[in-house]
């Protein structure tokens, strides 16, 4: 994927900058469409969650059944107290989860209005947005997967080699990441192993799980493909896994964006937009 642009002047004393083509057009386009899809899927998904802010394991689950996670408001003097409950653990989350606003303005609400689409409670609209962007996300992901498979992007750029996942190598990379020392020179031409593992986990595990658990919540698809219910242990289990995977993707995105900023925001943003990425090599030997 590297073609060297030769018009760059080397800095008088510093390292020699080389511009390479880092990301293909397909990767760049599908990446930014994904940014839009995942953001709106999260926000409309939390709108849907707010319609019944409890999660269960198994085939069924409703108010009278025991949930493993719930977000609720408890009445108290001077307003409502928001509570997130996971198993037996209760955490007061007033203002964020369970209850938004304070005093007389306090309202019972799972996730707060600034993170849902639309901001006010409207399940019908939330579903419209969610299912539209779910389609766009699946079409976009399919295009990316087909192109990346046939172009060799998966095999060449994403699959870690045996050496790259050796404990010694991974240990060194973790230490480097912890010191915020990012690859330079030849090794900057490739994704590092931690990057590869993170991308592989998201592309081949988390996103397909989101898709499959989403389908398992559909009574229509369950009739056609009942193995989905066996695979995930029931519709309510699938709903719980859908929720857990959504937040796992949020965690990935937070780390991803932090790494983008720390390892050179401008260079990274340019490489994901125009494809051009500057790597610093040593002085020419």
């Amino acid at each position: 994927m590297a073609t060297i642009d030769d018009h760059l002047q080397p800095a008088p004393n510093g390292p020699l900058p080389v511009v390479i083509r880092r990301h293909s057009l397909a990767t760049r386009l599908t990446h930014w469409i994904n940014v839009v899809c995942l953001s709106l899927l999260l926000m409309s998904g939390l709108q849907i969650f707010n319609a019944h802010p409890s999660l269960y394991w198994g085939q069924y689950g409703a108010d009278a059944d025991s949930s493993w996670l719930s977000v609720s408001a408890m009445k108290q003097d001077g307003g409502a107290r928001g509570v997130l409950r996971i198993g037996n653990l209760q955490i007061t989350t007033t203002g964020i989860l369970g209850a938004s606003g304070t005093g007389d303005d306090a309202a019972e609400r799972g996730f707060p209005s600034w993170i849902t689409v639309p901001s006010y409670q409207d399940l019908a609209t939330g579903r419209r947005w969610h299912l539209f962007f779910a389609w766009l996300f699946v079409i976009n992901g399919t295009i990316y997967a087909l192109i990346s498979f046939f172009s060799g992007h998966f095999r060449r750029d994403l699959a870690p080699s045996g050496d790259e996942i050796s404990p010694r190598h991974l240990g060194r990379e973790i230490a480097d990441h912890a010191r915020l020392r990012f690859p330079k020179g030849e090794s900057a031409r490739r994704y590092n192993s931690l990057q590869k593992l993170a991308y592989v986990a998201v592309i081949f595990v988390l996103l397909p799980l989101m898709f499959a658990t989403g389908l398992t919540m559909s009574p229509g698809m369950d009739a056609g493909y009942p193995f989905l219910l066996d695979l995930f242990g029931g519709r309510q289990s699938a709903r719980s896994i859908h929720f857990i995977c959504a937040w796992s993707i949020v965690v990935f995105v937070l780390v991803h964006v932090a790494m983008v900023i720390l390892s050179g925001l401008w260079n990274n943003m340019r490489s994901m937009t125009t494809g051009r990425y500057v790597i610093e090599t040593g002085r020419s030997e």
């Binding site: 926000m43 849907i48 969650f49 319609a51 019944h52 409890s54 269960y56 085939q59 069924y60 689950g61 409703a62 108010d63 009278a64 059944d65 600034w114 689409v117 639309p118 901001s119 006010y120 409207d122 399940l123 019908a124 609209t125 579903r127 419209r128 947005w129 299912l131 539209f132 779910a134 389609w135 389908l215 919540m217 559909s218 009574p219 229509g220 698809m221 369950d222 009739a223 056609g224 493909y225 009942p226 219910l229 519709r235 309510q236 709903r239 401008w266 943003m269």
Partner: protein, 258 residues
Amino acid sequence: MTFSITRRRLLIGSAAGLGAFSLTGCDDVAQNANVQSVLEMAERLTMRSQRLLVSKDKLAREFSEEDISPTFRPNGTSQPDSEDYTRMMESGFADWRLKIDGLVDRPVNLSLADLKMLPSRTQITRHDCVEGWSAIGKWTGVPLGPLLKSAGLKPQARYAVFYCADQLEQTIDGSGTYYESIDLIDAFHPQTILAYQMNGKDSEVAHGAPLRLRVERHLGYKHAKYLMRIEIKDSFAGLWGGKGGFWEDRGYEWYAGI
């Protein structure tokens, strides 16, 4: 260098614009009619895909007695408050009648006792509310397909519209009356039944007594309760909001398979 600064400004500018959009503009965008019609494309795509991927006789999973939810949450109306309904309820629905009319050759008028004498089907299925919860219950009732066949559908018949005894929203013009509709593929599905029993007993009022629709490959709001009349129609024109159901008129999808 100048070029890259300009570009950087552009990028920062658009990022700021996007930020402002996401904070203040989302609700405006969500309410825009053009945006809504684009979003609605997804419903047609979903319906076509599910119809293509799930053949018309595929059954929803049926569970065993042990899987039945200990408590089945009633939803929507749990006690219709019209005088007519109260009178029927007090007489054990002895004078209740189900009418099937519209685009049929022989309109049907059946009492609860008549329905109970017809061949029945019992199924233990999962009820999925659009809100996200599920409950499993056992339903016994008359399969709708054979009933419609005996009434004789006219060639223009496309939809079965279900009129209910309850008003979920109190309005003067009657637009709060609950109604639903399904097409003939779902009407003739083997698990589509008019259920008069739940969990082995006559249906409770909270669950739609005397008769409710079970259309198992759809979300809960399609399963109309307190059935009074089934009209066979070729379109939803002239029916309240024109979208084919109480919740459909309030923004929910007519195709509720997901």
